[in-house]
Symmetry: C2
């Protein structure tokens, strides 16, 4: 079994998933456009990916790199990962069963079902309750467990964002990436291997990688804040940690207020709609938590857009 998470593995994953994912576009913006400080940045609009976030890459990588049994795949998540696995399974004609905690929103549950997956609402309220139930079902049924972040193929899939970004913008100096369980930043950092400075961004209320790097190992951290549902995990994954130690330069913490203000500014000045986790990396740049050097070329992964903030139902007027 190949356990390495490296450029060759990411390139192989990219070759397999490419027909199934969107090549998400870039847009160049500078600080003046937002009325904020002096910076020049290149945003990768990964929120336009299938199922609304980068998670589709990891989902397809699992389904295409691993053998999927007749029982199909199983995942635990009431959020972007669950939706992405349901989407990938639908597109590849596989069965999917998604376990979600009892507090899942009606909107999320509907979206998972819409992609044809079987939705199982467990009795517990926490992600861990759903994860335990999904693991038990994987053992019983033989279905393939697709972990949201602590799985080699998940990291390889997320790493393809870095590979694609580097092809589209070969001259990056720095890349800002939001961190939850750490699958995205580890995949991306494994791709760049230090060629680009990869910097993590976490909400102050969910500092999983900050705590892990301080402790020298994954440890439990607070799980709160505005971006809790995408960036708050109990702790970072075991697979991502050595990659982060080696290739993530540092982690920046941003307050919830900055994340919320970034969502507002990205909509107002750029007409893109992000979920809180998708705006965290931008928040670090917009509000000076990360201060680039003059002429530094800063890339930002805008990684998710699954939010209920949009409602055309009221026949929205034009602004």
């Amino acid at each position: 079994m190949d356990l390495s998470i490296d450029r060759a593995g990411i390139a192989q994953a990219y070759g397999l998933i490419q027909p199934h994912i969107r090549k998400t576009p870039l847009i160049e913006v500078d600080g003046a456009e937002f009325g904020q400080g002096a910076f020049h940045s290149i945003l990768k609009l990964e929120l336009l990916q299938h199922a609304g976030s980068f998670k589709a890459r990891g989902a397809f990588a699992n389904l295409l790199l691993r053998a999927v049994p007749a029982a199909g795949v199983v995942a635990a998540s009431g959020g972007n990962h669950g939706v992405a696995v349901a989407y990938a399974a639908m597109r590849l004609g596989k069965l999917a069963r998604i376990f979600v905690p009892s507090i899942v929103s009606a909107a999320k549950a509907a979206r998972i079902r819409e992609f044809g997956a079987e939705l199982v609402v467990v009795t517990g309220t926490r992600y861990d309750d759903a994860l335990a139930a999904s693991q038990e079902w994987a053992r019983e049924s033989g279905a393939l467990q697709v972990h949201a972040f602590d799985q080699r193929e998940t990291l390889l899939g997320q790493g393809t964002v870095g590979m694609e970004f580097s092809q589209q913008a070969p001259e990056l100096d720095t890349l800002l990436v939001a961190v939850g369980g750490g699958g995205l930043i580890a995949g991306v950092a494994a791709w760049f291997e230090g060629r680009v400075r990869v910097i993590g961004v976490e909400p102050e209320a969910a500092p999983t990688l900050t705590r892990a790097l301080a402790a020298g190992r994954p440890v439990e951290a607070e799980m709160g804040g505005i971006a809790a549902d995408s960036l708050a995990t109990r702790q970072v994954g075991a697979l991502m940690f050595p990659i982060a130690q080696r290739y993530v330069e540092r982690v920046i913490l941003v307050p919830d207020e900055a994340i919320e203000a970034a969502q507002q500014l990205l909509w107002k000045s750029l007409r893109i709609v992000t979920e809180p986790g998708g705006a965290a990396a931008s928040a670090a740049l917009l509000f000076g938590h990360y201060q680039p050097a003059p002429r530094e070329r800063v890339g930002v992964l805008v990684c998710g857009g699954n939010t209920t903030a949009v409602d055309f139902g009221k026949r929205a007027a034009s602004v």
Copy 2:
């Protein structure tokens, strides 16, 4: 005075406005992603342009190709053009006065003021009332009138969308473009000169170009429907009409229901937020009003995103 609207003029305008506008990105999508028919399309996300629509290009073209007197610029519009002229004037350090009809929404008025323009609310409710007042003020003050569509530099500026699109995607067969006053489609058609099939899309409730082509000259048409505020003008411009006669292959009418459904689908499947006028061209493709041949490469201008449909204020949940 140069009255020509041609490739040389568009290229000159592009050279001047390029430092001030965003190079808006493309994304490739196919019908299956939306659960709709068989097509392959390349969307140009011009809704990410400054001030939320392509209108910024024409505004900058006017301010940079024409001599702006000390009295500044003046425009009539309660919509995207007014916001764009206010934005361009702010960025270029010019005075701007925007005349709007009395029915202007508070949100639009606030946005125009935010860009530093002087907002004048006229007593009449119609665009023509605001236009008349703006023309009178231009005569009195010597300010430069920037017409929303019937002005050479406006057409040259809008034409740069076509030039940029052709550089980004040289292999287009067809391009779908929404029509209101006709500035956008005329600029784009003047750029392509028949090299790409340019097809107009209008709401059934606001068929300005359809009526004009049938009559052989600009004539008055209905001004209603969901996209009224961006696509309903009394009639198409005099400058655009001969260009449309020569280079616009045909015009497709779409019902309001299709436009609204396109807004919903573009958000649901692609996470982009359009105003009704910005979704009209996509609606034609999504719902079979335009049916491409197999392997036809269809470009779509997604041209505006100024809508009140987005509200983060309620601490929107993640979907």
